[in-house]
């Protein structure tokens, strides 16, 4: 049987409901027959009211607005309480922040990001979040596709442009002042042939040789210009296709895949977590980086099941942002069905240093 001293000591935890069932039962039985301890229970409730005492919400609002406190509350007492009560001080700050939002229209509240623990992703309040995420993903896919097309087209165009420019310079240098003139059709600024430095006129067989080289260079120039025109036409066609492609996620993924891969899947071993890619579709792959950036460029290799490289992407640069990534493209039909390891590495003092690994399964 519990005595008064034991029962009174346990009363605070009887109130907060954390006593074990046997203790709770013993205290209750004691209380049922003991007036003194029931009186102590009332005192315990009073102590709870004291120690759980805070400024009323209307007082906090009045303080935030610099108004008079509700009747009966001593302002000096309220100030002293605020100095020792972190909960009331924090709540007063919330009200003050809200007041600033009322007074200053220029303050734009940021949408609150709530971590969705189950999905491991952040969502935005209010509940229009799934729609926002879908449209963001579709936008990212479109942007990635357009970027890849742009990079391919631009590099080809620059390469050919440079080639044309180089040929025109060579042509100008070998010019012998003959009647042959070349109309530069390239948009690249090329030095005018008429103003090119003219070497002293050779004679006889030497002049004939120079003429042949000039004709060969001319032929190369025309060939390069034709290629450039063809590529410009292809670029225009691709751009037209991209623009006419539906912007919805379903439309994009009908012909094109956008996949994001975490490196952890490969670290765990096995291919259960490998990200699937359709062999008959092109894919823009975004790889999440997880090592500290120390290199300007990286080499990406796609290794087959035997560890043999089947696709190599040199000069891979890291995209920095909230999450650093590497992006690369896999052309349709480039990889046969099977499981592949994507290995990111870099050169360090002439040595290959391996970093992240990712798993993909081509189906």
């Amino acid at each position: 049987m519990m005595n008064c001293e034991q029962a009174i000591e346990l009363l605070p935890w009887l109130l907060n409901g954390t006593l074990q069932e046997s203790e709770r039962q013993a205290v209750r039985e004691h209380l049922a027959g003991c007036d003194r301890c029931r009186e102590a229970l009332a005192e315990t409730r009073f102590a709870w009211s004291v120690y759980d005492q805070h400024l009323p919400s209307e007082a906090l609002v009045a303080l935030a607005y610099g108004d008079r406190l509700p009747d009966g509350l001593d302002p000096a007492l309220a100030e002293r309480h605020l100095a020792t009560c972190p909960q009331c001080a924090a709540e007063l700050e919330l009200v003050r922040t809200s007041r600033h939002l009322e007074e200053d229209e220029r303050i734009a509240p940021m949408p609150f990001q709530r971590k969705d623990r189950a999905a491991g992703a952040s969502t935005t309040v209010p509940a229009a979040a799934p729609l926002v995420r879908t449209s963001v993903r579709a936008w990212r896919s479109s942007a990635l596709a357009a970027s890849l097309v742009g990079v391919v087209a631009l590099s080809g165009w620059i390469h050919n442009g440079q080639r044309v420019h180089s040929l025109e310079e060579r042509l100008a240098q070998v010019s012998t002042g003959t009647e042959a003139t070349v109309e530069p059709s390239s948009p690249q600024p090329a030095p005018p042939i008429a103003s090119a430095p003219v070497p002293s006129a050779p004679s006889g067989g030497a002049a004939l040789g120079e003429t042949e080289r000039l004709r060969a260079a001319e032929a190369q120039l025309q060939e390069a210009q034709a290629k450039l025109q063809e590529q410009s036409r292809q670029i225009a066609e691709i751009e037209k296709q991209v623009q006419s492609r539906p912007t919805s996620k379903a439309g994009l993924e009908a012909n094109f895949q956008s996949v994001e891969i975490e490196p952890a899947a490969a670290e765990r071993g096995g291919d259960a977590d490998a990200v699937e890619i359709r062999a008959d579709r092109g894919a823009a792959v975004s790889l999440t980086a997880d090592h500290r950036e120390t290199h300007k460029t990286h080499v990406l290799e796609v290794l087959d099941a035997a560890g043999k490289p089947v696709l190599t992407v040199p000069g891979l640069q890291r995209n920095t942002g909230d999450v650093d990534t590497y992006t690369f493209g896999i052309p349709p039909g480039r990889l046969a069905p099977g499981t592949y390891t994507v290995q990111v590495s870099a050169q360090e003092n002439g040595q290959k240093v391996a970093f992240e690994k990712y798993l993909i399964r081509v189906v």
């Binding site: 409901g17 009200v95 609150f112 509940a127």
Partner: protein, 200 residues
Amino acid sequence: MENDDQEVVARYLRGEAEAVGLVDGWIQRAAWPFQRRLSSRWDDLLQDVRLEVTRLLGQGKFRGESALRTYLWRVVNHTCLDQIRAQTKWQWADLDDLERDGPVAGTGPVAPSPPSRHEDRDLLLRVLERASEDCRELWRMLVAGLSYREMSQRLGVAEGTLRVRVLRCREKATSTREDLLGRDKGVTKQPGARLSSSES
């Protein structure tokens, strides 16, 4: 301005989309700082605030003493603070059958009710400010719902020692109240004297 505000109130109560949108925008902006603390029931909270605003405006509580926008801002802050406190308020175990003048029987666990008058709260705050920081800390843990075993582990003291310290803090609160009541009102100390019925 006042007429404009009354016009907005009238249009809001008629459910006109523009006025409802305006008031709702104010509500969301005013409540924004409370989002993090109330995120688990944010949509419900906004709905509670809208209901409260509609109730107050419908009862003609807005009398134009301040701008409507400021009035609504205060209502929103008030409601959000009350929601935060309701969310963290620990429930008392149901002991109605043991107390002669406790809460109404059969209602299950109940939250300690705040003092009904500001004078009562003023006295409770004065008792609290005379308490030691140790006592405040011990009772903060109790109010937060920690068992004595959890508290003794967290504080690194024996369970028996902890129980005695908590008891001394309770006695200190009682004696301080008696001192304040005796000195301020010239009443004779009475063991277990109650401040008001709302305390129990």
